[in-house]
Every structure is written in C-alpha cells, then in structure tokens.
C-alpha cells in the first residue's frame, strides 16, 4: 500500500534528498535521484535512494532538496522542464523562496513549498536514513494558486515517509522557525565560540549540559549563513529581545548588592523553566499535558516487561516511558506518562497489584 502512485523525482542528493529517496523506495515508489554532483548522485543511488533519470521520465511529483540560495532557480527550472508535475522544495525558509518563484513568471500554481522539520548535524548522502522523517512535523505552505490536488499530494508525501503534515502560511512558518530553530542555532554558535579561549584543563570539566547546549554549533556555516540571511527579518527581533534579557542579567550580576539583583537572576531561570515546559514531547502532544507516575522495579530481566504487561491488562495506554536504570540501586525507576484522567486508576491499580510507586 503506497499513497504515492506516480513517479517521484528528487533533485539534490544531500541528507534530505537521500533520506527521502530511501523512505519512498521502502514503499516501492519509483524514485529518480538527480544531482549536479555525479559523486553524490552515485552514492545516493548506491545507497538505495532511487535510480538515475532516464529518457521518458514523467514525474508526478518533484522534490527540490538543494541549498536554500539556489532553491528558487532550481524550482523554476523544474517547473519548466516538467509542466505536468507538482514541484515542492524542502528549504528552511519559505516566504523568500515563494516570492522569488512568484516573481519569476513561471507557472507557480504547480509549486507548493514545504519544509520537513528533520535533520542532523552531519550532511550529505552518506548521512541519509530512511527513518529521518518519522514522527517529525512536515510543514506545507500552500499559496492561493495551488489546487487541492497539489496540497493533497504533498500531504501524502509527508504521510508516506512517516511525517506529520502541518499547514501554515509561509510567513507564519518563517516566524516559527526563527524561534524554534534559527535563534537556537545562532545562540548555540555564540555560546560555543566562548570556548575557543578556554584552557585545556578548563574545557576538560565540560559536562552534558555544555555538550547539549553546543551540539548544533557543529552545523555547516555555508548552509546556515544562507538560512539566517534569508530569514534575517524574523530572527533579528527575537535576538534583540534575548539581548535585552541578557543585558538585565549582566547588570544584576555586576551589582549583586543592589536590591532586586538576585530576583532578576532568579526570574531569568524561572522564565527558562516556563519556556522549556512549552516544548511538546516528541509526539507533538505537550508533555505537560501528561501525568507522570514513577514506578520502581527490581533491576532484573523481565521486570519491565511484567510491569508493562500489567499496565496493558489494566487497560491504560502509555503516552511515553522513560527508564532510569541504576545498577547500584538494585532498582530501576520507570517514568510512565499517561493522560491525566488515567493517572488515578493507574496509581490505584498498580499499588493494589503490589508495585512500588515513587
């Protein structure tokens, strides 16, 4: 069973193009992979992401997976070469791409932008993986010229590879990704830059917090300067708000004896608590909407399975599960996320069945 019945042409055999090809090929879709780099194209095809273009190819859908700065030109070229195909792209910024394509005078009714919210620090075909899109939002940004058929085709593409389609205006998308992706990238880079002048002994104290906050600072400057430049108008205001908060904290730390200074610092940390609590779980539902029950299990094989089997018997669906395995403690902690209305029953039934809850 496949949602995509026609041929799919992928232009650009980088991380996203290759991953998309791999995911579609798993469902038996006929995928053509094309890249101006023969080496990337050959690698993606070797990988199983699709086949070379051939005489008589007649794609239903074209997905342009090239860097943002050349995305509009490649989309325009594909619209001209395949006038019967719907063309989408995966660039991280949508309004400037749409504006340029509309201004080109080509048949933009066949173009519908999209942006799968998936990626890795490593790029290129070599980093491609078929499960890259699973459970990730795939933003679709229709414009007034698009037919419902075109919108449905991109929706099917997203669903086919396991992503969750989300419709948004292009400018809404650009505002959203500034906050959740572009600003975090810049802040992470600026934070990591402060490490350049640390001594080897100092940096040896680095812990998981530093690693997590700076992980994306390893991202490709060539790609990111394009993204940040294209979305500058959305990013700059958020950075200015950040800079204002930062200035307040610096002033407080430099004048600790002034009344209210520690309150300023404390409020900054509390505001961070509130902000991070708004990030939904990986599923798309807010993790704050779940109730958490922590059960203790003996640290021996089969105990976790027994617990989950009993939860199944109780008839409660787990929304999420985290295992904290502490060999030294001889017990493990299992953090069970359930819908709030299920918490009371879960606690009561597990307790009556003899499970210890923390």
């Amino acid at each position: 069973m496949t949602r995509i019945s026609g041929q799919v042409r992928i232009v650009g055999a980088g991380l996203l193009g290759t991953s998309l090809g791999l995911a579609l090929r798993k469902h038996g879709v006929d995928v053509v992979v094309s890249d101006t780099s023969r080496a990337s194209q050959a690698l993606a095809i070797d990988y199983g992401a699709g086949r070379e273009a051939a005489e008589g190819d007649n794609p239903t859908l074209i997905v342009v997976c090239v860097p943002p700065d050349i995305t509009p030109a490649v989309v325009v070229a594909e619209l001209a070469a395949f006038p019967n195909a719907v063309v989408t792209d995966v660039a991280s910024v949508k309004q400037p791409v749409l504006d340029e394509i509309l201004a080109s005078g080509s048949n933009a009714n066949n173009y519908i932008g999209s942006h799968p919210m998936a990626g890795r620090e490593r790029g290129g075909a070599i980093a491609g993986r078929a499960d890259l899109f699973i459970g990730r939002p795939w933003v679709i940004v229709p414009h007034p010229g698009n037919s419902f058929d075109a919108i449905n085709l991109i929706t099917d593409l997203a669903l086919e590879v396991g992503a969750a389609p989300v419709n948004m205006e292009a400018v809404e998308h650009d505002h959203a990704v500034a906050a959740v992706s572009h600003v975090p990238q810049l802040i992470s880079s600026l934070l990591a830059a402060r490490l350049i002048s640390t001594s080897a002994q100092e940096i040896s104290l680095a812990g998981q917090g530093l690693r997590d906050t700076t992980r994306i600072a390893a991202s490709d400057p060539n790609l990111w300067v394009q993204i940040l430049g294209a979305n500058a108008s959305q990013i700059a205001p958020v950075l200015k708000d950040f800079a204002g908060d930062l200035a307040g904290v610096i002033a407080a730390l430099e004048n600790l004896s002034q009344p209210g200074s520690l309150t300023t610092v404390s409020r900054a940390i509390e505001a961070g608590n509130r902000g991070v609590s708004r990030i939904p779980g990986k599923h798309g539902g807010g993790h704050t909407n779940y109730s958490i029950v922590v059960a203790m299990i003996d640290d021996k094989p089969g105990e976790l399975a027994r617990l989950l089997t009993e939860i199944g018997q109780i008839g409660i669906n787990l929304e999420d599960l985290k295992l904290e395995h502490s060999p030294g403690a001889q017990i493990g902690l299992v953090e069970l996320s359930v819908l709030p209305n299920a918490e009371e029953k879960l606690v009561a039934d597990l307790t009556s069945r003899g499970w210890r809850l923390a």
Copy 2:
C-alpha cells in the same frame, strides 16, 4: 576491594548525596546518610544509599551535599562535631565557600573542597543513581593547610565512585565552571524564555536542536540563583563577551545589504564550530559504551510489553530504553541500549522474530 576503609557520613540526601551513597554502598562502604528533611533521608535510605546515623558513629570522611548557600555553615558544624574527620563539600562554587570557612575560625585544615562535575535537571533523592559520577571529572581544590592524607582521601573517594580526580586552585575552578557550566545554564534559560510567547502551532515545530539547547533550562531556580550569585564575578565577563558577539550578529542581520554583513554571520557560525570542537569526548561515561538498536512497534497497547518480553526471552539485558511515540506515524520507535557484545545477537534474534528494526 574498596579504597575507602573507614565510615563515610553524607550530609544532605539530595541528588548528589543519594547518588554518592548508592555508589559507595556498591563497594560495601559503611555510609551514614543524614538530612534535616526526614522524608528525604528516609527515601535515600530506602533507596539503598546508606543507613541512619547511630550513637558512636566515627566517620573518617564527611561529604557535605547541601545547597551552596548553607554549605559553609554545615561544613563548620561538621568540623566541630567530628574533629577527627576530613570534611569535603560538593558545592559548584569553591572560592567563596573556602573563604567563608577560613574566616569562621574553625579547624579548616580538615576541610578540603571538591566538586564532582555531575548532575541532572531533576534533583532530590528520587533522582539519585549510583552511576552518576562514572567518567565525570571530580575537581579537588586543596588549600595550603591540607595534609597529603586529606588530599589522597578525596582522591580515593572520587576514584571509588568511578570519577576522574582533577586538582585545581579554587579560583581556577570557579573561572572554569563559569565558562563550561554557569554561562551555558544562563544562556539556555534566556533562550528557553523566548519560547514563552510562541504559539502552540509554532512550538509544535520544535526539533531536537531546540530540545538540546534548552534541556538544562529546566533546572532548579533556587539552586541556580545561589550558584550564579556566588560566582557572579567570573560569569559576568564571559556574558559580556557573548553580548558583544550577539550585538555584532544582530547589526549584521539588520543591515544585510552592508558589505561584510554575511561574513559576520558566517564567522559567528564558524567560531561556534571551532569552540564546540574543543569539547573532549566523554571519558568512558555510562552510556557511551552501549550499542543502540532501534526497533519499530505498532502504536497499540501491549506492543512494547511484547517486545520487552521477547528481549527477555532472548536473554539480553537492557541497559537503557527510550520510547519515541509518534501517533501521526502510527508506529513508535524504541531505542534499546545494550552492551556492544549483545548487539549482533539482539539484531539477529529480533529480526528473525519478525520485529522491524530501523
């Protein structure tokens, strides 16, 4: 074989105290756990972190694991109560703590500060785990009054729980943790605070980059305001350098047509690349030694239990488990961590039993 031959008294049954007790108990050390909160103390003892204090206790080593603002007073009280014991603490800031203890007039020769670079966003005894210190640096900050015996005792403590001892001056330590811990904490909090005003749809686009950069923003404001306040003189200069770089990027993004603007943005990302590349890999800490196998399960009750039951039948012990539950995709991803020598068998056996692996 244990390096610590005498009795260890742990004052404060929070995350660090409980974890330390669990780790020492694994080696059979006689551990006393004491906390002004009866509930915390009882939980830590239930957990296996040690026993209650008793008449005639005669600790060789006392580890004060209380919040930073009360650390000096508790250290002074312990020095007085147990004049034959070496007393250390685990506070995140060392020079102010040392200054206060030296100024107290107590016998500071028996006090030697230390700081295990280990923690979690979640605090309290409930979050304690015996492997918390494994592979983590444990900074020891001797002062001129300390004997070699005292320094060696803290070194043995660090080694006993699997940490890597590092000797530093107190002020060096405070400078280092400003860069690798305190500044990242504040920046993460300020970044997460920008999410408060995002819409639910915008925040639904959050990816792993945002989750990683803001994870530590969930940390406890009460603890952090103490740490940041105590180390303000080391933190403020780093934040000012950060603010200077940030102002440069904002100006560039607001004046993209000016020559050199994109170069400024590109250099910021490149500097981040250089900074993050300086972070050393984890030193054999817990989870880096595991192999990860990702299994796909249908998103319906009982599937996870069935998977875990079969893994139990295969006879492989799970070291960790993460569930990624994606309703949109109608499948869930289960990330299974196992010892490397178990990976091949797990993959082969699960595949032959019909499980789909990613």
